[in-house]
């Protein structure tokens, strides 16, 4: 068998182990929460009506049995593992008996869409600017951008997002500040709907881009300012190779490997959603679902989101490791 296949197989086994451990950890995290979904539901149905204490007690018992919470934790764990193997994460406790994965599936496209887009955009712009700033170290404009990037970086994301709402929704109301699309268009592939989605995505995406840009920019700038001192760059310059070619194929191309790795990691990370973005922009997505599930003690949904995140990140790591040798011809598989 070829070395690469052996390596890939080993790597895949590690992936399985990571997923198993991560998912198991997620199970206990989700189930150790002191919040009881049963109480959440009781609070909801009885809190605002005249419910007798006896009725409440009876409802409590029914729900506890229904949710399978009356068996010991380890039994719940083994039940979970059995179901997990066939891809079933069980019913949501907040929306019983709707499968938790169905709820996740509803929110997922929004989160993934928004985050993939903004992450890739941020990554591209940040890296290009950072690459240029690292190469043209005397450019005033890029220097100024660097200072801005350093300044913006520590501003809490919440503030940035909210400022966008205030500026573009209030002081100068030109963009929609809430929702995923307008109410008068219906989901379809019509240009109106797609346009509406894009329009509603502008502010959330912009806030993410603004906050994320600095990190990529600074990282890339640091990488590139190391690479420009490499002999092969100097040599290409001395040989009169075109500047654009040097920047692209010599400088940025060499900085790409670590940056691609980081990109894959952050793309893996998007499956946990962006809680603040969703809160501030009333944007649909996993973050809101997660916060609500956590708040309501819906361990099934917390677990489903966690599992998706664990698998996504583990897959991202796996993919990075698998394609790393392809990206960097120097890498040898050991």
């Amino acid at each position: 068998m070829s070395t690469y296949l052996v390596f890939a197989l080993k790597r895949f086994l590690q992936f399985l182990a990571v997923v198993f451990t991560g998912v198991s950890a997620s199970f206990f995290i989700a189930h150790l929460s002191p919040i009881s979904p049963v109480e959440t539901i009781i609070g909801r149905v009885s809190g605002q009506s005249a419910f007798s204490p006896e009725a409440v007690e009876s409802l409590r018992q029914t729900l506890t049995e229904l949710f399978g919470l009356n068996v010991p934790l380890h039994e719940q764990y083994f039940n979970f593992l059995r179901r997990f193997l066939v891809g079933d994460l069980g019913p949501s406790l907040l929306a019983f008996p709707t499968p938790a994965m169905k709820l996740v599936g509803l929110a997922l496209p929004w989160t993934v869409g928004l985050l993939t887009l903004s992450t890739i955009l941020t990554w591209l712009v940040g890296n290009i600017l950072g690459g240029l700033a690292g190469y043209y170290q005397n450019s005033r404009l890029l220097k100024a951008f660097g200072i801005v990037a350093i300044g913006v970086q520590p501003i809490p994301y919440y503030i940035v997002a909210f400022l966008m709402v205030i500026i573009f929704g209030f002081l100068w109301p030109v963009l929609p500040v809430s929702g995923g699309f307008a109410m008068n268009v219906r989901p379809s592939w019509s240009p109106e709907f797609v346009g509406s989605i894009l329009l509603h995505g502008i502010l959330p995406a912009a806030s993410l881009v603004i906050v994320g840009l600095g990190t990529w920019f600074l990282g890339m700038r640091a990488l590139v300012s190391n690479i420009v001192t490499e002999d092969y760059v100097t040599y290409a310059e001395l040989a009169g190779v075109r500047r654009e070619r040097i920047v692209s194929s010599y400088v940025i191309r060499n900085a790409m490997v670590p940056q691609l790795t980081a990109l894959a990691m952050s793309l893996g990370g998007i499956f946990s959603g962006t809680i603040i973005t969703e809160q501030v922009f009333s944007y649909p997505g996993l973050g809101t679902l997660l916060v609500r599930a956590v708040n309501a003690g819906d361990s099934a949904v917390v677990l489903a989101v966690s599992c998706v995140a664990v698998i996504a990140v583990a897959t991202a790591i796996l993919l990075i490791d698998l394609i790393h040798p392809l990206l960097d011809p120097r890498i040898r598989v050991e």
Binding site: A25, G151, P154, P156, Y158, T215, I275, V294, V302, V310
Partner: protein, 285 residues
């Protein structure tokens, strides 16, 4: 040591500005120890006063003097950020260097653990701790928990550097000079990763403070502890943005930005200091 410090201040603008900024913020947060007001007391002054000679940073809608309130907030936030950065640096250095230098099974096991920590979703875990510990969740415990999630990526980075160092001749030389692996890792290799450590420490602080703010804004931290996060939480809770009490938000944010600018400048100049080769380059010996 002192003379180095003096020279740095005198000749290195970046260092000087960094020291001034960070020093000012640290001093500011130290003022909390002589604060005349109790940071948890509310309605001790007239609320919503803009910054003035009497109230330098104004007062918030909870009737607190923001200047004194923020001294506590910054003390706690800085302590928190530094603790997370420090603790997670310790873990990432130990793991990164050990995995890189020792290799083999150690490497495999450590990277496996690393992958798991990367993969685990942080948010539900932090919230879980909040629900379990609630008001026992002080800044140190929170720092401890976050430190557990702040190390993996940086450990990978350090490991990749350590992997390269492992095959350098001076490492082999050190082995035959009888140095133990621990000594080699922490005395020979550590200085090489220090620039990474500094750079990632900054990023880590930004991350941890940002996460603290996120948790606080969502109400998942102990909101009785004054921090930058809880300051923003309360500001949000009183609609400070739309009501026009801008100083409640702008001032802490400006201070945070200044802190990190200062830290950034310090990190840049410290990296140069640590590396005698770059000192050499500068002196031109």
């Amino acid at each position: 040591m002192f003379s180095v410090f003096r020279d740095l201040i005198r000749y290195n603008m970046e260092f000087a500005v960094g020291v001034v900024l960070v020093g000012a913020i640290v001093l500011f947060s130290l003022l909390s120890f002589i604060s005349p007001v109790d940071p948890t007391a509310i309605y001790t002054t007239i609320p919503d006063m803009p910054p003035s000679a009497e109230y330098w940073f104004g007062t918030n809608s909870r009737g607190q003097d923001l200047f004194w309130h923020l001294t506590f907030a910054f003390r706690n936030t800085l302590f928190f950020g530094l603790s997370v950065a420090l603790l997670s640096r310790v873990i990432s250095i130990a793991v990164g260097l050990a995995a890189g230098y020792l290799g083999g099974w150690t490497d495999r096991v450590l990277m496996f653990v690393n992958d798991i920590f990367v993969a685990l979703p942080t948010f539900p875990i932090l919230v879980l701790f909040y629900f379990v510990l609630r008001s026992d969740l002080d800044m140190f415990k929170l720092a401890l928990i976050m430190a557990c999630f702040g190390w993996p990526y940086d450990a990978r980075l350090i490991r990749s550097v350590a992997l390269g160092l492992k095959h350098r001749e001076f490492t082999r030389h050190a082995v035959f000079a009888g140095m133990s692996p621990v000594k080699i890792m922490f005395e020979e290799h550590l200085p090489y990763v220090m620039p990474i450590v500094f750079a990632t420490a900054m990023a880590n602080m930004i991350w941890s403070i940002g996460l603290e703010v996120t948790l606080a804004v969502l109400g998942f931290t102990n909101i009785n502890i004054p921090t930058v996060g809880t300051a923003l939480y309360w500001a949000n809770n009183h609609s400070a943005m739309v009501v026009g009490v801008w100083w409640w938000i702008v001032i802490p944010v400006v201070l945070i930005v200044l802190t990190f600018l200062g830290l950034f400048l310090l990190a840049v100049s410290m990296n140069e200091y640590i590396d005698p080769r770059s000192r050499l380059r500068r002196m031109g010996a």
